[in-house]
Amino acid sequence: MSEIKTYDVIVLGAGPAGLAAGYAAKQAGADVLIVEREDRAGGILKQCIHDGFGIIRFKQKLTGPEYAERYIKMVNELSIPMLMSTFVLGIQKNNELFELQLVNKKNGVFALRARALVLANGCRERTSKQVFIHGSRPAGIYTAGTAQYFVNIMGMLPCKECVILGSGDIGLIMARRLTLEGSKVLGVYEAKSTPSGLARNIVQCLEDYNIPLYLSHTITRIIGSGRVEAVEISKVDESMKPISGTEQVVKCDGVILSVGLVPENEIAESLDIKLDPNTKGPLVDQNFMTTMEGVFSCGNALHVNDLVDYVSESGELAGLQASRYARNSHNRNLIEIKSNNRDFLYVVPQYIDTSSDNKSAVIYYRSRDVKQNVKVIIRCGYNIVYQNKHSVIRPPEMEKAELDLSNISINQDCKLEIIMTEG
């Protein structure tokens, strides 16, 4: 048997996070390999043919494939090896080295070793089972991403007259896409009282095409055997419970679900890495290192981002820090960042490693509710280290705070705390 090759950094996933991580790790001098289970790099960007990607990163409105291509070219220029159509079977940590079992068509089952790992596995869509739509399983129910794959990659129309459940961005974008391709989108139904997607997508995907948005409404039953024939729609109360007597039947042949994304962390869980119940991604420090030394997380596997630009940004940081760890690890001193679930959906990172040389931290946060005229403050004891006024803060829009930690003494008695106040 041939000798097992050891890399400084192995990146799992060749979507926007993984490509950026591989690029940054290589630029920092690491010996890097990117592993991808699909046959092409680019991740979900391959099917996101709409534009608006890269406004922050490249100061241009690019389509998803164009954005992905830029990173694929950057990775190719540095001659970073990529193993495509390759699946990870298992990972063990032995004596500070990670041993990966992989499988692909060319090599069969084989092993590789790495000093550091970057998990860039992206996220998955919630399915109909996860939002408790019960009943028979006729054809015609798709997640928005599956419908997007049918239309944009295969060139097939999944339905002629459909309803969309959930007002997430992909659902809104698919409402426009299906309309442009000749389907009739009868309406977008959202159980919450505010839209989940960005305001610009409500305008350019729904209002431009006169597609109605029904807030505080949900699908309570799917009718049809073999193929979807209709859905039963009900109004819901503030606690999102259907109000009886409000049911109405809408005839359609398709149901598109856009009910949220969940970070993919099967590999992290197999390594017993601790996950945050709020983000569903790993708990990390300011270097995006998880609770397991040497394992980094980035992109939508860490938390679901609203912009790919931030996904790349987190990939670059994780890749750089993974390459540093591979060469020179240090004992971490993790101090938690205090936050509360009442005001915040989540805050990332959850820890500061006070013994790291990296004294700059970017704190990402999302508000739990739509609020006007609030101040977000980050303090360390009585010392206010950051404050930002938001005239309006909305859950779909991720906010970020850039902190310089070099003059702040964080310790167990003086933790960073993020608070939201009026004013």
């Binding site: 305001a199 610009r200 829009e397």
Partner: protein, 123 residues
């Protein structure tokens, strides 16, 4: 006065626009950057959009090629432009930016490839 959500960037500012007294054009408020004003005036007088869609190809590995308009087209012309794009077929390998349909409907806008088929094929 009309309320408009700016779609230039993901921030989505709420703009308010009204015609100014006399010959001063429009008064636009609520924008957090310079682009908001121009957007609000266009939205009131001639709203335009970029179209992103796909065209057929002759390659079974890539049945569809992502394309976009090289500039914005009037909102009201979108379905007419889509009809032209629907008829186009890509019969050779193209790179991003290559023109697929020239000067669509005489709008001074081309339909261009928004993906590199060589990268899509992995070559």
């Amino acid at each position: 006065m009309r309320k408009i959500t700016c779609i230039i960037c993901p921030r989505g500012c709420t703009l308010e626009i009204e015609e100014a007294q006399g010959n001063e054009g429009y008064i636009v408020t609520g924008q957090m950057c310079k682009r908001g004003r121009e957007f609000a005036i266009n939205e009131l007088t001639n709203p335009t959009r970029t179209i992103t869609t796909t065209v057929k190809t002759i390659y079974p590995e890539i049945p569809r090629l992502p394309v976009k308009t090289s500039g914005e087209v009037p909102l009201g012309k979108i379905f007419e432009v889509m009809k032209v794009i629907d008829k186009a077929v890509v019969t050779h390998m193209v790179k991003s930016g290559e023109v697929i349909v020239k000067n669509v409907l005489d709008l001074d806008v081309d339909i261009v490839a928004a993906s590199d088929m060589y990268i899509m094929m992995g070559v």
